[in-house]
C-alpha cells in the first residue's frame, strides 16, 4: 500500500463490525504537550457520587469511566491519552522508539481525504456508530491495561467525558477532560457503578 492508496474512513454501520471512522483533519498535539508534567493537585476530582437507579444502570454501557488501584496520576494520564489516541485512530502514545515521529503524524484521514473525505464520510457514516466504536476501543485498551470500568449517570459523565460523534472536542477541551479522567482513574477506588469486564 502506498501513500496514494491510504484509505478514507467511514461507511454504514454494521453490527459488531469494526468500521473505521472518519475524523476531520486536526493537528496532533506537539511533543511538548504530550510530555509535559501535570500537577494532579491542580486537577479537581470529578463528582462521582450518585444514587444508582435502573435508568442510570441501563446506560452504563455508554457513560463510564475507568479506575485502577495503586496508580498515580501521571501513569493514568499517559494511559488515557494512549487509549484516546487508539480510539481516534491516532498515534499519540510514546513509542519506545526514541524518535517521536509518531506524535507528529496527526490524523491520517486528514492527510488523505481532506475536505472531500470528511464530507463523504460524514454523509455515509452514522455518528452513533462512531461513538460505539470509541466506547469499544476505550474499554478494550483500558481493559488490557488493567483498569476497571465504572458507570455514571449521563449528567455526571458529561462533565469530564466526551464522545466523538460527528464533532471532536476542541484540543484544549480534550486535554482538560482527559486530565479529569486521569484524576478519577488514579483516585480512590469507586464504590458504585462497577461494570463487568
Amino acid at each position: 500500500m502506498t501513500k496514494s492508496m491510504m484509505p478514507l474512513r467511514g461507511l454504514a454501520a454494521l453490527a459488531a463490525l469494526s468500521i473505521a471512522k472518519p475524523l476531520a483533519a486536526e493537528p496532533a498535539p506537539s511533543p511538548s504537550t504530550a510530555a509535559e508534567a501535570v500537577d494532579p493537585a491542580t486537577i479537581p476530582m470529578p463528582e462521582l457520587r450518585f444514587t444508582p437507579d435502573a435508568e442510570a444502570e441501563r446506560n452504563y454501557f455508554k457513560y463510564f469511566y475507568f479506575h485502577r488501584d495503586d496508580t498515580d496520576f501521571a501513569t493514568a494520564y499517559a494511559d488515557i491519552r494512549e487509549c484516546d489516541g487508539y480510539a481516534r485512530g491516532l498515534s499519540y502514545f510514546e513509542y519506545h522508539d526514541p524518535t517521536p515521529y509518531i506524535i507528529q503524524y496527526g490524523v491520517l484521514p486528514g492527510v488523505i481525504g481532506g475536505a472531500i473525505g470528511s464530507a463523504l464520510a460524514d454523509a455515509i457514516f452514522a455518528s452513533a456508530e462512531r461513538r460505539r466504536q470509541r466506547r469499544i476501543s476505550l474499554r478494550t485498551c483500558m481493559g488490557f491495561k488493567g483498569y476497571r470500568t465504572y458507570g455514571l449517570p449521563k449528567g455526571l459523565w458529561e462533565r469530564f467525558n466526551f464522545d466523538e460523534g460527528n464533532q471532536a472536542p476542541e484540543p484544549g477541551e480534550r486535554v482538560r477532560m482527559l486530565r479529569l479522567q486521569a484524576r478519577a482513574a488514579s483516585g480512590p477506588r469507586p464504590q458504585i457503578g462497577e461494570m463487568s469486564q
Binding site: 500500500m1 474512513r9 459488531a16 468500521i19 469499544i136
Partner: protein, 283 residues
C-alpha cells in the same frame, strides 16, 4: 451470542465483495517461481478473512521518510505563505465588506504542530485478501501465500483497507507477533485462528468482555504442507513478540492471545519470550 464471530462473518462478507486480491497473492492453480529477491510468506487461517501484514520500517527507510516529510513541510509552508499574502491583499481591498471573497476565512497556518504527513509505515502494509487461496482444505481452513519484499513482518490485524474507500476490521495493535521473511524462500508462519471462546474479546457494549482477538500457532512439522510448496525452500518462521503499534487505519483494536514461548503480557506490557528481552511497553 458471539458478536465477535458475527463480526467476522460480516467482515468475510465484505471482504468477498472487495476489489481484486493483492497481485502478489498466489492462487491454487497459479504457477510461480521462487525469486531470490522476493520473500514468500505462507500461513494457514481458520477463517477466510482479509489480513494486513506490516513490514517493519528500517532505519534507512525512516531517514528517507524524514527527508521527504521535511521537504513536503517546506512546500506546504510556502504554499500557506502565498495563500496568506493573497488573502491579506484581498482583505485590504474589502474595506470591511463581507461579500464574495471578502468572507473567505484566513488560511490555516502550517506549522510543525499542524502539519500532517503519513508515517513511513503506510508504504509497508501488505494486504492479504480472502482470495485467492493457495489451499482450500476440507475442514474449512485456508492457506495463503504472498510474495513480498524481504524484511521483518508483523501480523497487524484482521482487517481490510480498501484504497480510497474505508477500512474494516480489527488490528492487533496492542500485541502481536513478528518474523523475518528472507528472500529466495518460503517462510511458513503457522496457523492463525480465532481466540478460544472462553477468552475471546467481545466487542459488544452491553455484554462487553476484554480479551484477545486471534491466536497464532507457530509452525510445527505436523502442520499440512501444501503440495505447491513441495520441493521448494520452506523454513519455519521464528516468531517474536511485536510491541504495541499505532492504530493506523482507525479500526477497532485488540491483541493476539499469548503464544507459549513467544508472546506474553503483563497487563498491556508486551513480553517477548523468544529471547530478545522484554519489549519496553506498558506502565
Amino acid at each position: 451470542m458471539n458478536f465477535a464471530r458475527i463480526g467476522l462473518v460480516l467482515l468475510a462478507f465484505v471482504a468477498g465483495a472487495a476489489p481484486a486480491a493483492t497481485r502478489n497473492q498466489i492462487g491454487e492453480r497459479e504457477a510461480f517461481t521462487i525469486e531470490p529477491n522476493k520473500a514468500y510468506i505462507f500461513f494457514r487461517s481458520e477463517r477466510r478473512l482479509p489480513y494486513q501484514l506490516l513490514r517493519e520500517v528500517t532505519p534507512a527507510q525512516r531517514a528517507a521518510h524524514e527527508s521527504e516529510r521535511n521537504a513536503a513541510f517546506v512546500r506546504a509552508r510556502r504554499s500557506y505563505e502565498r495563500n496568506l499574502a493573497l488573502w491579506q491583499e484581498r482583505q485590504r481591498g474589502c474595506a470591511g465588506s463581507q461579500a464574495g471573497q471578502c468572507s473567505a476565512p484566513r488560511p490555516t497556518p502550517v506549522t510543525e504542530a499542524t502539519f500532517t504527513y503519513p508515517p513511513p509505515e503506510m508504504d509497508n502494509f501488505v494486504a492479504i485478501s480472502d482470495r485467492p487461496r493457495l489451499t482450500a482444505e476440507e475442514n474449512g481452513w485456508s492457506g495463503y501465500l504472498v510474495a513480498v519484499d524481504p524484511g521483518t513482518y508483523i501480523l497487524y490485524g484482521q482487517l481490510m483497507a480498501v484504497p480510497n474507500a474505508a477500512s474494516f476490521g480489527t488490528c492487533v495493535c496492542m500485541g502481536a507477533v513478528k518474523f523475518e521473511a528472507r528472500g529466495g524462500g518460503v517462510t511458513y508462519v503457522g496457523e492463525v485462528g480465532m481466540a478460544p471462546e472462553e477468552i475471546i474479546g467481545r466487542p459488544d457494549l452491553e455484554n462487553f468482555r476484554v480479551g484477545p482477538l486471534m491466536t497464532v500457532t507457530p509452525f510445527a512439522p505436523s502442520m499440512p504442507m501444501p503440495p505447491q510448496l513441495a520441493g521448494r525452500p520452506v523454513v519455519p518462521a521464528q516468531l517474536h513478540a511485536a510491541d504495541r503499534m499505532p492504530n493506523f487505519f482507525g479500526v477497532l483494536i485488540s491483541r493476539l492471545a499469548p503464544v507459549p514461548g513467544v508472546l506474553a503480557y503483563e497487563r498491556d506490557r508486551v513480553i517477548d519470550l523468544a529471547g530478545q528481552g522484554e519489549t519496553a511497553s506498558g506502565n
